[in-house]
């Protein structure tokens, strides 16, 4: 097994210490940082995402893998151009206005980062204006809105409506998710996509962003 495969395997096992050791070994061997990132960490995380989507591993294992990935990325950052990790797109996420339950949103953010997205996390209790302004300011093409309560789901429609009112539909896409949210609800409010869970949210965001 070469070092890239070993990194992927250790990532899958959530072994942050081993991932850091292997990434350092690859750096010391002169492997370019971009190659370690893409062929070791990102491809390893992609496998983790597929295993989770297929219900072969559980969420805590995904989070341990994400922690291991961070350990590796931290070593690569100084070696990457400008110290920036290359991303495949930007996504703005937050919980709907009135909702303080941010665990689901946080998990989606971690999975998106693992998939290579830059995530602008607005936190919880986010107004429609903040969502749209943040997308415009950051250049994000996708807004992800999460809600745990049926009573805050209506705030999701405010975001979708505001995107339309500002003539940004088609330019900025919206995806909604959370325990009480359904595909029917997403269709009803005119959202562009619905994330059943964190794994499907990542797939949907990729489709929306065209990557």
């Amino acid at each position: 097994m070469d070092v890239m495969q070993e990194i992927g395997s250790s990532l899958r096992n959530g072994d942050a210490k081993k991932v850091a050791e292997l990434v350092q070994q690859a750096i010391d061997d002169g492997v370019p940082a971009e190659e370690i990132l893409n062929n070791g960490l990102m491809s390893g995380m992609k496998v983790v995402g597929v295993l989770f989507r297929d219900h072969e591993i559980f969420l805590p294992e995904v989070l341990l893998a994400a922690r291991a990935m961070t350990a590796g990325v931290d070593l690569l950052k100084p070696l990457l151009a400008g110290g920036d990790v290359p991303t495949i797109g930007k996504v703005v996420i937050g919980t709907a206005k009135g909702d303080l339950h941010d665990i689901g949103k946080n998990l989606v953010g971690i999975m998106l980062k693992g998939a290579g997205f830059e995530v602008v996390d607005l936190g919880n209790d986010v107004t429609a204006e903040r969502f749209v302004d943040a997308a415009l300011d950051s250049g994000a093409k996708v807004i992800g809105i999460s809600a745990l309560l049926t009573t805050t789901m209506s705030s999701m429609k405010d975001v979708v409506d505001l995107v339309r009112e500002r003539g940004l539909d088609g330019e900025i896409r919206t995806i909604v998710g959370g325990a009480p949210v359904s595909k029917d609800f997403a269709d009803e409010i005119g959202a562009d996509a619905y994330g059943y869970d964190a794994a499907s949210a990542v797939e949907q965001v990729k489709a929306l962003a065209g990557v």
């Binding site: 959530g14 341990l64 922690r67 009135g98 303080l100 971690i110 049926t150 009480p180 359904s182």
Partner: protein, 242 residues
Amino acid sequence: MTDAVRFPRAEATPDHRTVLTAQGIPDGAEVPPRVASLVDEALKIYSTHVDAVGTSVEISIEEFGAIYPGDGRNAHRTPLEAIYPEARRLALFAITVGEPVCAEIRRLFDHGDAALGYTLDTIASTGAEGLADSMARNYELGFSGSGPDVSNVRVLPYSPGYCGWHVSGQAKLFEALRPEGIGITLNSSFLMQPLKSVSGVLVAADREAHDFDIDFAFCTDCADQNCRERIHSVLDDSGGGQ
């Protein structure tokens, strides 16, 4: 009269297996050692931060009848509107596992340790739900010796935000219960702080009164339908009672 109670740490702490189940790992599934260690670590953190308190106050059916409609935003038809008039007794309640646990969850996420933060969050949520059940059990135990016809009485907690009881109902519930005295406050969106808190009404009624069909408009949007498990817990409980 309002009663306040401080829960022992053990009563507020879910066991290892319960935490795994809450994380979606079914009984019998192979648990990776790193995940088991993560749960152990989070349980240790939880035990050093948990500060579980609760409060309750007895209330009449008529008084609750004035609280339940809130500001008129409940679903057109709800299970609780048929259940509470059948109650032998009612009590408003609120519990929390405390702000320090919630602050620690936020800190872990802010510091990029989502694995531990998520696990601690699961423990705190499960712990809070367990405390609501403890309040219900203790309320049920209070029926001991209160009459010969109480053996069929079971207590279940019902909360705003669920089963058609609009979350705005928290406002009137808080006015009557005043849980601010144990550190639970309500924000403008009717959400409690600390976040890991549970409030509602304890309904002591004959077990059959808690049963209902899932044919309400909001049931189609309900992802977990754990009302079935709750109802079965009282209908199938032949060994309890007083």
